[in-house]
Amino acid sequence: MNTKTFKLLSGNEALAQGAYEAGLKFAGSYPGTPATEILEYLTQFKEVDAQWAVNEKVAFEVALGASFAGVRSIYSSKHVGINVAMDPLMTAAYSGINAGFVIVTADDPGLHSSQNEQDNRLIAKFAKIPLLEPSSPSEAKKFIKLAFEISEQFDTPVLFRMTTRVAHTKENVEIEQRHEIENKIFEKNPHKYVMVPANAYKKHILLEEKLLKLQDYSEKTELNKIELKDKEIGFVTDSVTYLYVKETYPDASVLKLGMAFPFPDKKIKEFSAAVKKIIVAEENEPFIEEHLLQIGIKCTGKHYTYRVGELKPENIKDIVENKPKTQYPGGSRRPVLCPGCPHRAVFVALRKTKVIVSGDIGCYTLGSLPPLAALHTTICMGASITIFDSLSKVLGNDKVVAVIGDSTFVHSGVTGLINAAYNKAKGLIIILDNGTTAMTGAQPNPSTGITAKNEQTKKLDLEILCKACGADNVEVIDSSCKSIEEKIKEYTSQDKLSVLIVRYALCKMIDRTKKAAPLLNSEKCKKCYMCVSVDCPAIVKDENGNIKLNVNLCAGCNVCVEMCKFGGLVKNN
């Protein structure tokens, strides 16, 4: 008869599979580690309209629109992506939804690949929406189905928090049948869908009442479960930390919060009455701890130093004893641009011109690391052009250059360019167009003319766009060090707003073909190490100070050859 099918799925894949089985019909996202695989997994299903959006705000609104239109819908992004979507998020809590709508945030405790480690559990409280947190892939699949039910039962978006460890852990997960859901009817209802002051005021009153009902649900749901064992210590915990507690203290009593917000106060009090000592084990912010203290529960939380970084199973003992954090990550090999990466030539040229470089988020952020060290500011998506705008006005437009990737430019660089032109900024903005969203694993974007489902679509023309925004000069060149260096000098010396689009041969993430590696002539090498300064993994200084060329890694871009003045490295044609 029916035998169960299991697959080894990551948390992200399991979440997506669960959403699919729950009758999902729309998914919107912008790529970002550790969230990317959710949308990628959903592109395989013909029943789901899975889209990469221009940015997170757009993804959120299109997904919310799908819910309004009557189909189950999901938004997903990394934690900082939620910041971009905060405007619609805060008000969607007031309006509510039509068909089930889930907001997935993939947080990154430990900053494995992010610019901060903000704890998005706080957003649930701030926005007044329920918070669900799975601890494992199998729970992600189970909980996402409940999230859609809660969303529809209480007419609210649901915040669904993953962390890197949940998102990127793989586990045996059962594959089940999809359950089709009939579309809900969209009815014109300005009191619900038009959030002008008079309507929104009434909705806020209803929202406060809704939170009380949600709290009642939180008390009763199995998502929040008490496991009574040894009563000496009782842990209150959530997310993957629950599993670290089970690993380290298998015999302790535990209150696991799968739905931390609204907090199940009665259940928390019941648990605290049943055990001698309450320990709160949670990553990052003291979100649960502060609430327990607020409702008068005596508890021990982690030492404040443990707010930094992710927890590991071996840290749970320290938390019980309220000891400070002593180990910080370090010693691991830093990432570098791929061998043959076309960004390398641009950063070699920028370093040579000695300009201040306002950077952005993408692979090219790696250009900030020594020895390239040719990128000097990075804050968030799109901030290269806006920060450049002011740097160039204050410091001089001949001293500053902005660099931004094609996907990031479309995400939120374009608004900065319009602003720069409108407010009369001058100087040079370089768009590094490698034809993909490389850092997150090569996803398409509007300037590639390909959709998330790998279909042809309208292709955004960056040249026409930049001209329309008000750039005085727009020029497209290919990437060789010498021409880029000349162009940087030419455009930074003009009192004009210029956009230089460096259009590459394909990114090495997509095109793995290689050209012949250069020839190394050790006798001619003067050990000036200029070749090593291009920071390529294929050419390194060995322990004896000799240059070593790894022909297995080399892609034959010859940027190192351009650096060699002594004939120690020559092109191999």
């Binding site: 793989k170 670290y244 089970k246 199973p313 071996e314 790696l366």
Partner: protein, 158 residues
């Protein structure tokens, strides 16, 4: 049975995540509860790569507690030296086997498969599960050659 903890480590591009995936699938096909944890994002850019694989009756934490690694497969001297402190007192360090394999295997893209063959000698997972896992991951890509390399390393899988 007690949970088996395996740590794979090295640098981007060495096929470490692929090797961990195959071992994880093989354990799943043999009926074990599997958890495998790794951090993506920087792996393709030459940075450190580590994958934690745990399997048993019921596995809790997706990452291995410090000092609890039963088997350590390192593909890089520097990463080996950095991570060796995680090995259990009576744990098995397979780096000497890797050094031997590196001399023996000319085509470096088969090194990970060779090391899986070495690992398989210690785990007692069935040959059918290993083969099914390799087929899942490699598809048809050099599958016969991968079987051959795996069997060579393993000697005699039961």
């Amino acid at each position: 049975m007690k949970t088996i903890n395996i740590l794979f480590c090295g640098t981007g591009g060495q096929g470490i995540l692929t090797a961990a995936e195959i071992a994880g699938l093989a354990a799943m096909y043999d009926g074990y509860h599997v958890k495998k944890s790794e951090v993506h994002g920087m792996a393709q850019r030459g940075g450190s790569v580590e994958s934690h694989l745990r399997f048993g009756k019921e596995v809790f934490s997706p990452i291995i507690t410090d000092g609890e690694v039963d088997f350590m497969l390192s593909f890089d001297k520097g990463e080996h030296d950095r991570m060796i402190k995680l090995l259990k007192k009576d744990g098995k360090d397979l780096f000497p086997d890797f050094v031997e394999a590196d001399k023996k295997i000319a085509d470096k893209k088969f090194l990970n498969t060779y090391m899986l063959g070495i690992l398989s000698k210690h785990l007692g997972l069935s040959k059918e599960s290993w083969q099914k896992a390799m087929k899942d991951v490699f598809k048809t890509k050099f599958i016969e050659k991968n079987f051959e390399v795996f069997n060579m390393a393993n000697g005699d899988v039961k």
